[in-house]
């Protein structure tokens, strides 16, 4: 089966001309590795806070908007303890995924996880405060495209499945996260 896919893929490559970037996204994160500052991280990194303009409250509000009506979903995620466990599984998955590893391997992973717990907690109506940076400035330097964004969503889905979070609860959260592509993607 795999051989068939490979030969078909080769066929389409020949058909379309060698300059066509077939499956470019697979290689893209690796190519970007050199451009990523050593201490950078994806969701919320204060390391550069001094270098970036002051964060507007509006940007921050769109980073961790609170939806009190999602409190039942917060409970389905196992509240804060559940979110902490989820982020452990999620980060392991991100580091194991060749598409995502370049974005996270040199980040302060503990802090990324902390900020993700806070962010998800706030969004799901939980009693948390988000202490990270806004989505736009924290992702500006990373050169993230739609394929990267979707790959991260897949890994999050994988982690949520692993934690036994009901599919419907997952989608309630994803529906709030998905519009953030506008702040996260820069290409």
């Amino acid at each position: 089966m795999n051989t068939i896919f490979k030969s078909m893929s080769l066929f389409s490559f020949l058909l379309l001309g060698a300059q066509v970037p077939v499956l470019q996204a697979q290689e893209a994160p690796v190519a970007q590795q050199d451009e990523i500052p050593q201490d950078d991280e994806l969701p919320a990194d204060e390391a550069h806070a001094s270098e970036t303009p002051a964060v507007s409250p509006a940007n921050l509000a769109s980073t961790a908007p609170a939806y009190p009506e999602l409190l039942p979903v917060y409970k389905q995620f196992g509240e804060e303890a559940g979110l902490v466990k989820l982020m452990d599984v999620f980060m392991d998955k991100l580091l194991a995924d060749s598409r995502m590893r370049p974005f996270f391997e040199n980040a302060d992973q503990a802090r990324v996880k902390k900020h993700l717990v806070e962010q998800f907690c706030v969004i799901l109506g939980g009693p948390c405060t988000y202490s990270g940076r806004d989505m736009k400035s924290s992702h500006a330097a990373l050169g993230i495209d739609r394929a990267n964004f979707n790959a991260l969503v897949e890994d999050l889905q994988w982690a949520m499945n692993k934690q036994g979070i009901p599919f419907r609860a997952q989608n309630k959260l994803l529906a709030k996260l998905a519009p953030m592509h506008r702040e996260i993607e820069t290409k």
Binding site: M1, I4, F5, M8, S9, S12, L16, V20, P21, V22, L23, Q24, A25, Q26, A28, R99, D145, R146, A147, F149, N150, A151, V153, E154, D155, Q157, W158, N161, K162, G164, F167, R168, N171, K172, L174, A175, K176, A178, P179, H181
Partner: protein
């Protein structure tokens, strides 16, 4: 309620219960594969080779590629309706989540009806369909905070190989082109996908019986509606309705209906099984049966 209606409902319930049980047994997830789109958000392949539901094109661009990727699919579909069967196969390439090119060949076997009509048992209409679809606005998945759907426009050019028979039954042409505009919205929080397609067509039984006829030979708008409910990343159930014109004096043509279950264990393969009700097809009423489709992609 007629026996048929009860049967139809029972079948739908059966399909849903199969999917639900299989889903329950499938909670332990295997790893996802490469390709930028989320599982099942590329749809499956519809009868004429475009990405969509089983009967109708959706606004999605086939394959799992995103804005900077190329994805491709091949499919095989078999429909058994009682008095006839259809074999349908094709390939599709999606470019940069923007343009989709497709080719499909349909072979409609008249089985013993061919004999009754003097064409011979197993007489087969063969039709080739070339499709082009372009995404013009929206994104299916990520705009979950607005009502904006993904919108695409497309054409399907069809050529039937039985010009003589088609002329004899009153069709005006053995080839024709359908034009359509399609809007697909995923309500992510609810796991619900809704599609509406408006198709301008002269095709009789999607072109198997030619194009135009003694009763009408002009383009007529036809509405096609799909709804799908995502049970998990891998399982979806849904239903579709496709209106069709009625151009031929020799046989009435009914609107089509199906209820389907789709399963995508990974991004390289998906399976769709449906119960399809095609109504009257030439001299045979109540053409109902099983639609089964497999799609492979990379």
């Amino acid at each position: 309620m007629s026996v048929t209606k009860i049967k139809r409902k029972a079948l739908c319930l059966l399909l849903i219960s199969i999917a639900t049980n299989a889903y329950a047994a499938d909670q332990e997830d295997s790893s996802f594969d490469n390709g930028g789109k989320l599982l099942l958000t590329g749809g499956v392949t519809q009868l004429e080779g475009s990405a969509g539901g089983g009967l109708t094109p959706w606004a999605v661009i086939g394959g799992y590629g995103t804005d900077d990727e190329i994805g491709a699919n091949a499919f095989y579909t078999r429909v058994n309706t009682g008095s006839y069967h259809l074999d349908d196969a094709g390939v599709m390439i999606g470019f940069y989540n923007r343009v989709e090119l497709s080719f499909a060949q349909q072979r409609f076997n008249t089985e013993q009806v061919g004999g009754l009509l003097g064409l011979g048992d197993g007489f087969t209409f063969k039709q080739n369909v070339i499709g082009v679809k372009v995404r013009v606005a929206g994104d299916l998945v990520v705009n979950s905070d607005s009502l904006m759907p993904q919108i695409s426009v497309g054409i399907q050019h069809k050529k039937n190989n039985q010009a003589g028979v088609l002329a004899f039954i009153g069709a005006k042409d053995d080839s024709g082109t359908d034009f359509y505009v399609t809007a697909t919205k995923l309500f992510l929080a609810d796991g619900l996908l809704i599609n509406g397609t408006l198709r301008f067509t002269k095709a009789n039984q999607i072109g198997i019986l030619g194009f135009g006829g003694d009763k009408n030979d002009s383009y007529k708008p036809q509405l096609e509606i799909s709804a799908a409910y995502l049970l998990s990343q891998k399982w979806a159930v849904g239903a579709e309705y496709r209106m069709k014109p009625n151009n031929l004096g020799i046989a009435t043509e009914d609107n089509w209906f199906d209820a389907f279950v789709a399963y995508a264990p990974n991004k390289h393969v998906s399976f769709t099984v449906a119960y399809a009700d095609l109504g009257n097809v030439v001299i045979k009423d109540n053409q109902r049966g099983v639609y089964a489709s497999v799609q492979v992609g990379f």
